[in-house]
Amino acid sequence: LRVDRSFLANTVLAILVTVATCSLWSAGERRIDVYVALYTLSYFVVKAVLAPRRKGVDWLAIALAATFFACVAYRVWEVLSR
């Protein structure tokens, strides 16, 4: 059975996102940026390991990275402004 690695990557990403959501939800985590950070991490791990093909520019990677850095910047600013 041959499975295209791009489709495999999407399946693995869906599993990782589900596991991350269930784990954090059951741990009582309510901060959205923690969830987004884990989704971003999952996406880049899948991208690095399975190298899925993309139509043109990978806008999702750019959007996730930008959101992740915005969340980190917000947390840093929060700590500094205390």
């Binding site: 295209d4 791009s6 489709f7 869906a14 959501t21 996406y43 139509k55």
Partner: protein, 224 residues
């Protein structure tokens, strides 16, 4: 395209639900769930349609068979140099071909051409289009994903020396004896042709050997 449309539907509906959840409940794990689904949907939508490896494989292998027939009919001997041109990569086959003396126009337009002191045969290498700009990635996409003539690939490119070393796992034996004699196995020809195309310089199959069911190939750029 159904897969990509399903991705768009999942991404859009999850985004709408995320906004509605945020407005009604504020930040909550349910909102995170919708964001996660939107990420998966967007990833599906960005995946290009699956290439049809069986059809492409058949077309390319048939084209290689024709190359083999021409080589056999001409009794071609010597070695092959893969020359990149504007319209594709050509295999110039003859005794001691000097790539620096070849005219791109002759390579493109003539079947038999003068290469140094002897005559050479110029044949276009049938290659499927690949987007990658890395020879190793392009080789994996061509040989493993599209043609299916190997189940896996280990590939290293030494860009400074202009060399590419590849090991094809379970390399399918494709019986083109004359082509193997003058240019190397089909896997090697494709590796050298991709190296020539991406690096924009003539290349050749430097060496190859069978290791059980695997095939090891070394291709190199010919610097003038």
């Amino acid at each position: 395209m159904l897969y990509q449309r399903a991705g768009v539907v999942i991404a859009v509906s999850s985004s709408i639900l995320a906004v509605a959840t945020y407005l009604l409940l504020g930040p909550s794990p349910l909102l995170a769930l919708w964001i996660g689904l939107a990420v998966v949907g967007a990833s599906m939508a960005l995946t290009p349609p699956e290439p049809r490896p069986v059809n492409v494989s058949k077309l390319v292998l048939d084209a290689f068979e024709n190359v083999e027939r021409v080589l056999e009919a001409l009794g071609a001997r010597g070695s092959a140099v893969l020359v990149p041109t504007d319209s594709g990569v050509y295999a110039v086959i003859g005794d001691s071909v000097d790539p620096s003396r070849l005219s791109s126009e002759d390579v493109r337009s003539r079947l038999v051409l003068r290469a140094g002191r002897s005559l050479a045969v110029s044949l276009k290498v049938p290659l499927p289009e690949v987007e990658s700009e890395s020879p190793c990635e392009a080789l994996g996409e061509t040989v493993v994903d599209r043609l299916g003539i190997a189940t896996g690939l280990e590939c290293v490119e030494d860009e400074s020396r202009g060399e590419l070393s590849a090991r094809f796992h379970n390399a399918k034996a494709v019986g083109f004896s004359r082509m193997s004699e003058v240019a190397g196995p089909i896997h090697g020809v494709i590796a050298a042709a991709l190296l020539a195309r991406i690096r924009g310089a003539p290349a050749r199959v430097a060496s190859w050997r069978r290791v059980g069911s695997d095939l090891e190939v070394r291709a190199e750029v010919l610097r003038s």
